[in-house]
């Protein structure tokens, strides 16, 4: 009742009514969650960085974040880090990193899985554990159920990796409103914070992925002109190059090369790399052996990786039809850009000092929070025009790819093309959907294969099949095929297969209901506490404005009853029983009902006279 009259404490009430939405940066090494409060994005948590590590202990215990990371050295096979490198990938995709990860991988040409504690888990499930932890963290901070989330993905993630990330969100019980490209998120955070306008390059080197995007920022519009990168290149690789280079020169090098030492050897490399951010030299120490490493050494180890970055940068500038001199700035994103070696490289490549005013670890989560706020009905005026990073096409006869949607096309997007049969009396049409820039299908990423049946038998080239590609604002693809010749319309809709079928996701969701009960109790409690807060604020505000006005509507006995009810509610809110909080909220509502009724009447009367409540009150008090 009190709610409808929104005069005092308006901001608080609005805040409580606004959807609770968050942005999540699901990183290879670290993850963060942020939201928009008082019109500005902020990260959640005193220590906002949650290591993207999940520990699977005995008795089904699962730890996430710092607690999990601590187990890494003692239980390397049960402590899963860097799973983002595996998500949406099959076994052959990850061959390159397989021997460098301390845990065991299995799988096939469809999907890769991790063997942990005698069972197999998919990278989607592991990512869902990280997302769940972030969700709980946000619920505790925001005091209620999270209604929607924007999750960031590397701009260069292909369809399979995006689908898998979306499913991880679903598995974590989150409503994924949007997948957002990481460099785009960073640009949004910069654009809003600095009021930047113009054309910017975003250089985003994270733990396991590299993105380079060029964006134009004009009056709240963020248009991605071109994007490129490498979804398997990041700070992790630098750690491994350091480890490989150093261990070879140590006395017990060959012993250390053994698989069981990988975690320790790489962890020490990372420590040295981080130490070199401030110091000129650092000591690599492991099992009694040691070696001095200088920044010059680091530069040498990093060179092959940075050369790959340089190549992607040149290509993206070309795609955007720009030269580096036409840029207004270069923005650094991702933990790996803290390294002076990387900064020097970027400065040299673009011929200017890069910008890093915003924390490169936080900026992606902040941008995601802004986009979540936009989608959740917030007040930010931001229009994002993102692109698809890799071309989408179908395989033609002879294995050649016909591209239907080209890379760097603004999404959402669509394309339709008609194909003819190639054999006499052909009654089926096999459609192989691929993503990538190469000319042949086997060199591209295979997304899905499906057969359109029921094509009427005719001579070659007579039957015609129309194929439609639709890409949504998440960059996700749907394919439809239709037989045209006879007027008989056969159409089929496919979701590309990246390893998990819809049934598998459903099964995992059902299994997760086992844990749902405790989640639910927590959710109820948080929801009721928020409701309690809202009504307390509204009541206090109404009481205060009544005291300030000359013409009191609040009777003494109603005020006394209200004050008691408020105290009862506060006590209930300090407890854990959500039923009790609910009951006290209702009691407070009841106690203040006569007062609320009078305020309503006055508001209605004032409206009849064309006045706002504020005007009506001030008129009375003068």
């Amino acid at each position: 009742m009190l709610l409808q009259i929104s005069e005092p404490g308006e901001a608080t009430i609005k805040e409580a009514c606004k959807q609770r939405v968050i942005g999540i940066d699901l990183g290879t090494t670290n993850s963060l969650v942020a939201w928009v409060t008082d019109g500005a994005p902020v990260v959640i948590g005193e220590d906002p960085i949650v290591p993207s590590v999940v520990y699977y202990g005995p008795d089904n215990t699962i730890l996430v974040g710092r607690e999990a990371a601590k187990r890494g050295l003692d239980s390397p096979r049960e402590t899963l880090a860097s799973v983002k490198r595996l998500i949406g990938r099959n076994l052959s995709d990850v061959e390159g990193v397989r021997n460098l990860l301390p845990y065991e991988l299995v799988g096939d040409d469809r999907a890769v899985r991790v063997v942990v504690g005698g069972r197999e888990v998919s990278p989607v499930e592991v990512s869902a554990e990280i997302l769940k932890a972030l969700k709980l963290r946000a619920e505790a901070a925001l005091g209620g159920t999270i209604e929607g989330v924007v999750i960031t993905v590397p701009a260069y993630f292909d369809d399979a990796q995006r689908q898998a990330t979306r499913d991880a969100g679903r598995l974590a019980g989150l409503e994924v409103m949007r997948l957002m490209a990481e460099p785009t998120a960073a640009a949004v955070a910069y654009g809003l914070d600095k009021g930047s306008q113009g054309t910017y390059a975003v250089f985003d080197l994270g733990g396991g992925t590299f993105d380079i995007s060029i964006l134009k920022l004009v009056d709240g519009v963020f248009e991605v002109k071109a994007t490129g990168g490498d979804s398997a290149l990041g700070g992790d690789d630098l750690d491994r190059s350091i480890a490989t280079a150093v261990v070879g020169t140590l006395a017990h090098g060959s012993d250390l090369a053994h698989r069981k030492h990988v975690a320790a050897v790489v962890a020490e490399a990372r420590r040295v790399k981080e130490a070199l951010t401030l110091a000129e030299t650092a000591l690599y120490k492991i099992q009694g052996a040691e070696r001095q490493i200088s920044r010059a050494d680091l530069r040498e180890y990093a060179k092959p990786l940075l050369d790959r970055c340089a190549k992607a940068c040149r290509r993206v500038l070309k795609d955007a039809e720009l030269t580096k001199d036409q840029l207004d700035g270069v923005i650094l994103v991702g933990g790996s850009t803290r390294s002076p070696v990387v900064r020097e490289f970027v400065a040299e490549l673009f011929g200017r000092q890069p910008l890093s005013d915003l924390d490169p670890d936080q900026v992606v989560a902040l941008g995601a929070a802004v986009q979540a706020d936009v989608l959740g009905g917030g007040e930010q005026q931001v229009t994002l025009l993102d692109v698809i990073p890799l071309s989408l096409g179908v395989e033609m006869m002879g294995g050649i790819v016909e591209k239907l949607i080209h890379r760097n096309t603004t999404i959402p997007s669509g394309a339709t093309q008609t194909f003819a049969t190639y054999a006499d009396n052909q009654t089926g049409f096999v459609i192989h959907v691929v993503q990538g820039e190469r000319e042949t299908a086997d060199a591209c990423r295979s997304l899905a294969t499906f057969t359109l049946k029921g094509v009427p038998p005719m001579i070659a080239g007579m039957a015609r099949v129309e194929i439609t590609f639709l890409v949504d604002a998440d960059g996700l693809l749907k394919v439809m095929a239709k037989e045209l010749t006879t007027g008989i319309e056969t159409s089929i809709e496919v979701k590309p297969s990246y390893g998990l079928t819809d049934e598998e996701v459903e099964r995992m969701l059902t299994e997760s209901f086992d844990f749902a009960e405790t989640d639910l109790a927590m959710r109820n409690l948080l929801t009721e506490r928020v409701e309690g807060d809202r009504i307390l604020n509204a009541t206090r505000g109404a009481f205060a404005s009544d005291a300030a006005s000359a013409d009191h509507l609040l009777d003494d006995d109603v005020r006394a009853a209200g004050v008691v009810a408020m105290q009862d509610l506060e006590r209930a809110m300090a407890g854990e029983d959500h039923f009790k909080i609910r009951a006290m909220v209702e009691a407070l509502d009841l106690a203040t009902k006569p007062f609320a009724q009078k305020r309503m009447n006055r508001a209605v009367e004032a409206q009849l006279h064309g006045l706002t409540l504020e005007e009506a009150e001030s008129q009375v008090s003068h």
Binding site: G220, K311, Q371, L384, S413, D472, A473
Partner: protein, 177 residues
């Protein structure tokens, strides 16, 4: 093989609120696209009923596709020709003189590539880029005089030019690996 911009699609110029002409400034097209995007982007309809969201999504797709078609001069020129019923097929022929010239340049490129002569490839690329720039100026002139045959001939030639430039890129890329 049909072009995506077939008859049932709304007109690309209309969608962007632009006059159907060739000599449009890139900035003007971009500004029109931004202004329309602010109204039509699916994010504006995030909390609308499902049916409205579907409509918004397809309107936004049509707008993006229109922008994609019109933002670059060659795409714009091809689209303008299509609007008046002149289409360019997949296997259009060049005139014999031009074809000889193209074949010769391709041979040169293949030799340079085999010899890993990066400087030579870059020179060939620069030559072709200059030719492309001249062609675009010529295209402007041909549109001004409404010379449809001339425009079509030039656009066919530009397809070969663009393919050649792609091959230069591929050659330079391969060299880097």
């Amino acid at each position: 093989m049909e072009s995506p911009s077939s008859s049932k699609q709304p007109d690309a110029f209309d969608l962007l609120g632009l006059p159907a002409r060739f000599d449009l400034d890139g900035d003007v097209i971009e500004r029109a696209f931004y202004a329309r995007s602010k109204e039509l982007h699916p994010d504006r309809f995030a909390s609308a009923p499902a049916a409205e969201r579907v409509v918004a999504l397809s309107r936004s797709r049509a707008l993006n596709d229109a922008y994609q078609t019109l933002k670059k001069p060659v795409g714009r020129a091809e689209y303008l020709l299509e609007r008046v019923g002149v289409s360019i097929g997949e296997n259009e022929r060049l005139d014999p003189v031009t074809i000889m010239a193209v074949l010769e340049m391709r041979e040169e490129l293949a030799e340079a590539r085999a010899a890993k002569a990066v400087a030579k490839i870059e020179m060939l690329q620069a030559d072709m880029q200059q030719r492309r720039a001249r062609d675009l100026v010529e295209l402007d002139r041909l549109f001004a005089s409404a010379d449809l045959d001339g425009i079509k001939r030039l656009l066919i030639g530009l397809r070969y030019v663009d393919r050649y430039l792609e091959e230069c890129d591929a050659a330079l890329d391969a060299d880097e690996d």
